[in-house]
């Protein structure tokens, strides 16, 4: 697809809002997405009134550390906040409190697998900062809403270790999944809680140098990340092949025209004039604190997937589906624990019927009105052949709607499978008696009629006939009717 003389060299910067109750440096609520009223989650600090001062949110630091540890970073024992100075209406203080020289965590890595090939992407740094206010354009004016100003933001920066758009998307997805697993970010791209910036350059295959790169900002979905990256790589290759050179610049992505656009501004390159934040003492993070946080790390997606495959014996495809959301994986394991049925049976149920229902109804496993114990019971009823598989599948939506437990519903409806051989033998006999021609047809060698006859048995029992038993009884009955073999 892309020119094979050149290799893309890509790094990804991810900004993730942290799910704390209050903002990074003040006690205003950080749950601005839930508040429709602009400029109501505000205070002197986040509106930068003269004389106001920041105070660090402990939980934001803890969540940041959790992410750092999940990405195998070293947590810096001495870290410092810094002022990043520039003017923009969404930045009330005229500087953003961020981290520069001494960030929260450094030197981590994430392993990604694309097309069977594994790649270690190094995470250069993870640092804490604050989000900006929200701007909406209205013709010649801009409206500013400070509800979002000061919300904690974690910046995760990778080294330029990715060499295909597929890898970038995989990396982005995995980070998103990890953040959701840790409970620090909802991953809801549409709400803008997770944002990407791609740093892209190209080089000749086999070369180790790093060429001039461009930075594409404000990529707020995987789709735009993918499209913009593809475009920019091709653009750069075309420029180089034409003998030109790449300018180091910041670009935007025009989704409508499908191109990257230069964002050359009135001023020269930003001179952020970073200096250590005098209003905030340093964070001295000792090993005790680090270990406290490390103990809170849940089993991460990659590890869980491996365990599901190797220990629980699931197929890789199923494992991948089940670990895609921590809540789903937890639900699965809870159901397995409550059920007597084999693990892969439960897996099939969830990957198949349950997910189908969730998708249909736009539900997630967290707001599903079907506790794992109920699903386990349903699956076991089918496994124990008390009801048929098809009956069980039919019951699923009703169980979700009513919240009843399966056994109660089955009993109430009298849906238990008929396994009683005398009952079934009678029905088999009746079916045979009522359908002489098909039977004759079968006896003359038309084997497919057997299925039709089975259908008649099922109809006669309203689906409750146990298929294995009735099949055996029908075979026996029919065999008994065969013409005696010619002796010879």
């Amino acid at each position: 697809m892309i020119n094979s003389d050149y290799e893309p060299v890509i790094g990804l910067e991810i900004h993730a809002e942290l799910q704390t109750q209050s903002k990074m440096f003040c006690g205003c609520s950080a749950t601005y997405a839930a508040s429709p009223e602009p400029n109501t989650f505000i205070c002197p600090v986040c509106t930068a009134q003269p004389g106001a001062l920041p105070v660090v949110n402990r939980q934001a630091v803890n969540q940041g550390m959790l992410v750092g540890l999940a990405l195998n970073c070293t947590i810096n024992p001495h870290n410092v906040f810094a002022r990043k100075n520039y003017f923009y209406p969404d930045l009330p203080k005229g500087y953003q409190i961020s981290q520069y020289d001494l960030p929260l965590a450094t030197h981590g890595e994430l392993e990604i697998v694309t097309g069977g090939k594994s790649r270690r992407v190094r995470v250069w740094r993870v640092h804490l900062e604050e989000d900006t206010a929200k701007l909406t354009h209205q013709g010649a004016t801009v409206q500013v809403d400070f509800n979002r100003a000061g919300v904690p933001l974690l910046e995760i920066v990778s080294e330029p270790d990715m060499h295909s758009v597929e890898e970038v998307l995989k990396y982005g997805n995995q980070i998103r999944s990890i953040l959701r697993y840790l409970g620090v970010n909802s991953g809801d791209m549409e709400k803008g809680v997770l944002r990407f910036e791609a740093n892209i350059s190209v080089r000749r295959y086999g070369s180790n140098e790093l060429n001039t790169r461009t930075e594409i900002k404000n990529l707020n979905s995987f789709r735009t990340l993918g499209r913009a990256s593809v475009y920019e790589i091709q653009r750069q290759i075309a420029v180089l092949q034409g003998g030109g050179h790449i300018e180091q610049e910041t670009l935007g992505w025009d989704e409508i025209r499908g191109v990257t656009t230069s964002q050359r501004s009135k001023e020269h390159a930003h001179d952020y004039r970073y200096f250590p934040e005098p209003d905030l003492p340093p964070l001295e993070i000792d090993t005790v604190w680090v270990e406290q946080i490390r103990r809170k790390l849940p089993e991460l997606p990659a590890v869980k997937r491996d365990r599901f495959i190797q220990v629980l014996g699931l197929a890789p495809a199923d494992a991948s589906v089940l670990i895609s959301e921590k809540a789903l994986a937890d639900y699965f394991e809870a159901t397995v624990a409550a059920a007597k049925s084999p693990t892969h049976t439960v897996a099939n149920w969830i990957v198949g019927d349950l997910l189908h229902l969730l998708n249909d109804r736009g539900l997630s496993v967290e707001n599903l009105n079907l506790p794992p114990s109920h699903l386990a019971e349903l699956v076991d009823l089918a496994t124990d052949k008390i009801i048929t598989q098809s009956t069980a599948k039919e019951l699923l939506p009703e169980l979700v709607d009513t919240g009843q437990n399966p056994r109660a519903l089955v009993d109430k409806r009298g849906l238990n499978k008929i396994t009683d051989e005398r009952v079934l033998a009678e029905i088999v006999d009746q079916v045979i008696a009522r359908n002489p021609d098909p039977v004759a047809s079968y006896l003359n060698g038309k084997e497919t009629v057997f299925t039709w006859l089975m259908g008649q048995v099922a109809r006669a029992t309203r689906g409750k006939a146990d298929p294995l038993v009735s099949s055996r009884l029908l075979s026996e009955a029919l065999r008994g009717m065969k013409k005696p073999e010619n002796s010879c």
């Binding site: 009223e37 009135k266 020269h268 250590p276 001295e284």
Partner: protein, 104 residues
């Protein structure tokens, strides 16, 4: 004096560049006057180059505290009206500013 102590010439271009960094409109005359004053001031402050700073850690923050943190609890907000009362331009809900007509 060591070369890194050479203060720059505060010519009009440098002064205007610095003024823009802090979003301060200035006239050519002001740039001229400020430039001269800056040269005098910075020249005097180059005295700092006589200090023996080898091996010294910068004393940026008063190191008498660390880990001053706040629990993650929501505190009452400022009312929107109280906030907007000082805002030069607003519509009762949003703060309003003009667009940037230059790029970015």
């Amino acid at each position: 004096m060591p070369t890194d102590s050479q203060s720059p010439r505060f010519d009009i271009d440098l002064v205007k560049h610095i003024a823009f960094l802090v979003r301060l409109g200035i006239s050519e005359e002001e740039a001229q006057v400020f430039g001269q004053q800056f040269e005098t001031i910075i020249e005097y402050f180059n005295l700092l180059n006589e200090a023996d700073l080898a091996g010294i850690d910068p004393a940026g923050q008063a190191r008498h505290a660390c880990n001053i943190l706040r629990e993650d609890e929501v505190q009452p907000s400022l009312s929107r009206d109280a906030f907007l009362a000082n805002v030069p331009e607003h519509d009762g809900v949003y703060v309003k500013v003009p667009v940037v007509t230059g790029v970015e």
